[in-house]
Symmetry: C2
Subunit: 599 residues, 2 copies
């Protein structure tokens, strides 16, 4: 009963291949009278382990490793046997042209969770419209729509915010290296797709709009970065005559109002932590406060140790000794886990880590113990609240580096504990946190004697630190605030500079930037700018946290791949030289470049 | 009391210059004790005719014709006298560097309405944040926000539409010559900014989203065109399992629900007219039905005329004689108005126009009368319902050309009648109209033997004409519909082809296009597409009609100029070759091109 278009590659009973399930959508009774038991795409978790027969077209085939079978209902990935006994099958399939019709019998298997084949991921993107039929994506997109609608009601109907659309064809901002360019019809002139409506929302305040919001499309060209999208969406807010606390209460109310019932309620106000506290206690500016394991300062205990290196470090201005205590680490973590944690700190932070294990008898096991007196051991146990089987990771060095390394180890060991079965974080918990009092400027990485804005140059200095701006800018705290949920940054904003002179001072004297490119903003500030501030919430991340998805691509209808490509429509794509002509550009092909260099 | 920064250019009483008022915003009492009577930007209509003195900085100066004076409160445009007696003033001002401080005394004048200086218009764009403070722009932007919010409530809360964001970085569609390009980091590959989310919304239907809407940013690179913007906004809607009438009722309900009270109410359902009727009666596919003056067919009357040319034309397949009657034209229109109307028809449509005037005694005055018997004159008067002083414009020729020319003259003469004081159209009237049954294909202008889509290639044929698609595609009507308000197109949409085979036939056999670039859409249609259709409303135009503004730039916060430039931020702008490097492009400077051609 099977119509053969090109050739039958293998038939019932002759061979078996492992099947892994593809996408799921509605399945009418279409298998009666036919040579198949199921349609492609019909397979679900319930089918795993069953022997099934599928018929369809070869959609895609990859180096004899797997192929994708297609019929009118969907796709199924077919794993091709790699053992010698099946070499003729592998050969047959490797040589089969795509669109060949085949019948396949095999055992259904599901992909191991967390180990999805990246090639299959690409396939999901290519057939996104089929993926969209899944109940999970339908739920995610509908929930996203509802949450945004509630946010609009709160801002627009309850609080008089004005939804204003701002341009996305603008020009480069200083340091806007990550901005996409759009060639114009004027030779040599380009628009730029802005990373945020920052300038426009400030200009709207200067224009007297008083309260602005926009669900704003933003653009960032970062090349390949995991779970980033070249275009993304911000809930963008700005208001006049407001202070930091005002913005914080607004956002708490906004989230409380728009949060889905099944994931609520949210308790407000959210706790606040300074940047210095966050760094000292959690080693990061976005602490996951759903669990403890905070960083503990043990400088006082170790200062009395007879180790030259330690004593030496502790005399430095930022020298410190700190530790985290992994509860039940000796039971839940393997030796290689501990080793890889230490290696990670070494390779990523250039920070040596020592471990201390609390033995069942309460004594400590460590390379360090021979330098520790009994009193110091007791003090360490007391300060770190060590219990039997706990593991302490300990670091000595520069404050920021030590904290960052331990903060990173804290998160990784939490993941390891949970992977080993410990219940550390309540998956339903919602830990919102404001992080405030960031430094206004940071030393440039490539040249630490110069300063750059910690966030952006429009951020106002902390009111208590305004004088320092002119005397010692490195010490100035900012009026920037970040909103953190369960260890992810979901928003950030600031009170802005509304004084032209101060803005010019920051740009020209502190940042040493050419302020010409921002002359319109500086000029606008001269025309009477109200005190104003705002925030932007990362909508994609926020929704992915609400639906409990690890990737923002699960809450975007048509996401781009890691490499910024649309695998469904095949974008970006080549264009003809004629199409480039009106824009006065042509392509520098790498080959041509190479030749040019030779000549 | 005047502090001089560079030099005083002229002082009280020495010279006078005409002042025209700039922008208006809040004015505290800041003129006491000072050498001025007013601040810049403080001048309103009430000041016109008064002598005032302003002090400020020269913001801008243009070829000795005018300058812009700035102080802390705003800007005033100063017209420099051009007569010989003031030549020394003109010279002084022409040579003065910008930022010079001056005091100016003169008589306030306002710009004549409708004759705004395009340079002043540019200035308004450059200082858009000041213009935004005007009550008109504040009203427009707030109303826009509210109308869109109501639309969202209707679609999202009342009718279960899902607000889905679709990508704006995509790839070129066939014939997408007006799409902006965005260079990617892959050499030679470009994204494209789409003109609408057309493909995505159809894919969402195939993906089972059922009902989609989006307030979508769209892009179109048309170079310089009046009152078009390179980026604009559509209320974009698509739904499954719907027919044309379903979409029409949805949109009527949407507009009724979201229409501002002060401009309502709206009566539904809106009347419907076929494309053929619209062309025959109004000479356009977007008839302004707020007034009569419909096109009347007088072929039968003129067929009996003894003029060889007329009789000849009327034997052609599409030969026709038609006319419009301008009520009281002889009283309201000047001779030169009539001449310019006739010239416009000649130059723009290559169509000769004859006029016939109804004298006070009821007789007709025309070059034509000597060919008309008494009976025919009476018939013409009766058919066209001519009254004393009416003017008839008459055309003989090809149906489409005659209708288009008379339709255009109908609108122009209506404007002339109104400018001369006749009340023809009620400014509060809202004449919505559906235009339906468009042709599906049109002959290509450059090669009439080939066909192109009248709208886009995804439009479904009229259900009664499906068979014609395969036999005589030129005769197929489409399921496209346009929504017209007071003679402006405010929306358009269609039921789409949901059958892959039919879509492929249209693309390959009728349009002779390479369907490869749309392979993802064709493939998607094969995966089970529901019958679906949708519409897009032009939000900018719709809001400008609601607020009664002639230009969409009055309802956009930061519009671009006619040439697509942002005059405030100076976009597009030059970028460095280094910034182009990651995108593998370089600029073809026109000069370099010229040189290349020489060699």
């Amino acid at each position: 009963m099977l119509r053969l278009v090109r050739r039958v590659l293998f038939q019932r009973g002759t061979e078996r291949a492992r099947l892994s399930s593809g996408w799921v959508h509605r399945a009418p009774d279409v298998n009666s009278f036919a040579a198949r038991t199921n349609t492609c795409g019909e397979l679900r978790a319930a089918h795993v382990g069953q022997e099934v027969t599928l018929c369809g077209w070869i959609q895609y085939q990859r180096q004899g490793l797997f192929l994708v079978l297609r019929d009118f209902q969907g796709l199924t990935q077919i794993i091709i046997p790699q053992d010698e006994a099946h070499s003729h099958v592998r050969k047959l399939l490797s040589n089969a042209p795509v669109e060949s019709v085949v019948r396949v019998t095999g055992i259904v298997s599901s992909r191991p969770p967390g180990q999805e084949n990246p090639k299959s991921e690409a396939l999901r993107m290519q057939y996104r419209y089929l993926d969209l039929r899944s109940s999970q994506l339908q739920y995610n997109l509908r929930l996203r729509s509802q949450v945004v609608m509630r946010m609009r009601e709160y801002l627009c109907n309850h609080h008089g915010f004005v939804d204003v659309e701002t341009p996305t064809l603008f020009k480069r901002t200083p340091g806007g290296a990550k901005e996409f360019l759009v060639p114009s019809r004027e030779a040599g002139k380009f628009y730029s797709l802005p990373q945020s409506p920052q300038q426009f929302k400030q200009l709207l305040m200067i224009g007297g709009l008083d309260r602005y919001f926009q669900v704003a499309r933003c653009y960032r060209d970062e090349g390949s970065r995991p779970d980033r999208q070249p275009e993304f969406t911000q809930i963008d807010i700005e208001m006049s005559f407001v202070d930091q606390a005002g913005i914080q209460r607004l956002i708490e109310g906004l989230l409380q109002y728009s949060w889905p019932e099944e994931r609520g309620p949210i308790m407000t106000p959210f706790p606040t932590m300074t940047y210095d506290e966050a760094l000292a206690d959690y080693g990061t500016d976005k602490p996951d406060t759903r669990f403890g394991m905070k960083i503990v300062d043990i400088s006082d205990t170790l200062r009395r140790l007879d180790i030259g290196f330690v004593q030496n470090v502790l005399t430095y201005p930022h020298g410190t000794a700190k530790a985290i205590c992994i509860p039940q680490g000796a039971r839940y973590l393997k030796h290689k886990d501990l080793e890889s944690l230490k290696e990670a700190a070494k390779s990523r932070f250039n920070q040596e880590i020592m471990d201390v294990i609390c033995r069942p008898d309460g004594s400590l096991k460590s390379l360090l113990t021979k330098f520790l007196g009994e009193e110091q051991q007791s003090e360490l146990i007391r300060v770190l609240n060590m219990q039997v089987d706990d593991v302490v990771l300990l670091a000595v060095g520069d404050h920021k580096r030590v904290c960052s390394a331990l903060g990173s180890l804290r998160l990784e060991s939490a993941d390891l504990l949970e992977a080993a079965g410990m219940v550390l974080r309540d998956p339903a918990a919602l830990h919102f946190l404001w992080v405030v009092d960031f430094p206004l400027f940071l030393p440039k990485e490539e040249n630490p004697s110069e300063l750059e804005s910690a966030h952006h140059p429009f951020t106002a200095p902390h009111p208590l630190d305004t004088d320092l701006l002119y005397s010692d800018p490195t010490k100035v705290r900012s009026q920037h605030y970040d909103l953190v949920l369960n260890g992810s940054e979901i928003g950030g904003g600031s009170i802005r500079i509304h004084n032209a002179e101060q803005q010019r001072f920051v740009l020209e004297k502190v940042l040493k930037e050419d302020s010409e490119v921002l002359s319109h903003l500086l000029e606008a500030l001269e025309f009477g700018a109200p005190p104003h501030g705002g925030i932007a919430l990362g909508l994609d991340r926020l929704i992915s946290l609400i639906v409990g998805s690890p990737s923002i691509r699960d809450v975007i209808a048509f996401p781009k791949s890691f490499k910024g490509r649309d695998l469904m429509g095949n974008a970006p794509d080549y264009v003809t030289p004629e199409e480039l002509e009106p824009y006065h550009i042509h392509v520098s092909w790498p080959a041509a470049e190479t030749e040019a260099k030779k000549n």
